[in-house]
Subunit: 241 residues, 2 copies
Amino acid sequence: MTRAMTEPARKTLPRLDESLLTHLPPFSRLEKRQIRTILDQASSRRYESGGTVFNEGDPAERFYMLLDGYVRVVRITPTGEQVTALHIPAGQLLGIAKAIGRETYPATAMTATESIVLSWPTSLWDTFVAEYDGFATETYKTLGHRVGEMNTRIVELATQQVEQRVANAILRLINQTGRKVEGGIEIDFPITRQDLSELTATTLHTVSRLLSGWEKRGLVESKRKRIKVCDPHALVVLSQG
Amino acid sequence: MTRAMTEPARKTLPRLDESLLTHLPPFSRLEKRQIRTILDQASSRRYESGGTVFNEGDPAERFYMLLDGYVRVVRITPTGEQVTALHIPAGQLLGIAKAIGRETYPATAMTATESIVLSWPTSLWDTFVAEYDGFATETYKTLGHRVGEMNTRIVELATQQVEQRVANAILRLINQTGRKVEGGIEIDFPITRQDLSELTATTLHTVSRLLSGWEKRGLVESKRKRIKVCDPHALVVLSQG
DNA sequence: GCGCGATATTGCTCTGGCGCAAACTTCGGG
DNA sequence: CCCGAAGTTTGCGCCAGAGCAATATCGCGC
């Protein structure tokens, strides 16, 4: 029972270093020995950008910790449109259906960049909750945070204009995943106009028009799949509308 | 410490009957003795229709069980618009901020009808979770269900036309709270065009126009604050768009 | 260095549904 | 029974933003 030999796609690396987890909230109160146990039970896997971690509706057989990269949580409508519900940065748990009493994943998780993910079988969930101090609390905090975000999105969708929504979305991405660069802050993973439109419930055309307009005014600079915010404050003003 | 003497508005009734809770999921696995303890710690209160149970941003000092009535969970935007996030029917917990690691309520809860609500101080939350078998599980199921609903709303807002959203909203209300009446199914609490518009992110005018149109076609009948669905199937067809 | 597919830009048209305004209906209270 | 407040209906004009379409650009693989 010490090593998973059955799943070729998911590879248990020779030795996962304990420092991978020690500073992450759900595990930060644990002792080295406990972390070791947790790591020995984990599978690790690398995903290409655009890879699928799990699909909406699948039985929730595993839960995940995103070690590196970014994951988009999307739902797909009957007509094939995608709606992005959430962006998850490195260091957070995902696929925690068990935490909310679900047997299946409520949405699809795909990587927005190359990503490294640890995972454990859902059967270990209850053990984690029971044995590891702070794990449950931190998990539910994450959950609470996500519920808050979803709430915010609902309010935004319900009341704001497209321009404000796009501005807000970009600001949120900057806050979560911004990287300081020469002349501004950049979203540090590749994101297309299409992606942004799925995030803000509009079309890629409208997003493109908005970005062009902002670029003319010097608020942002953007290349293919890259967006840099030069004047965050002006964007904030826009987003308040 | 046996009785709350400080809060005149919240009245501990002489004797709450155990049958109030025994059939409700979070408590259904408990023994009579435990239920008695829980009830003795509870305050009960009756709200008028339109009363406020708690406000967004308030410290989450209590958690609640809606015994009778309906509660709308709303958020209010900086500009004063209301957006309804959720409808909660009798028999469910609300104000369970503690469950998701929050110190304040994320939204405002107001009664849609006259309602009866039990409540407990949040300090008892951990005790409930620890001592009462099934309480945590059921709570998180409720939470999961609500997350699912929020997700659905996001997708709806993002992809559907107003007509479909309104149809969906009515169908959901019918499913949750429908009462069979002569000639159809009626939403069994008073709901205005305004309420519906806050639920579907549109204006009361548009809702009114839609309902008028549907009434002409025989799909629904509506009076002031009352909506009866005569042909649910046709509404379903509409809602798929 | 070339070619192709993915991504982005931009112009034009058309319309769902919002905003405004006015009138009407229902209900509860005095 | 009447009045006023709350809720509803309906008409009209307008515009944000979707849809469509054509073109431009980027960057990767060969």
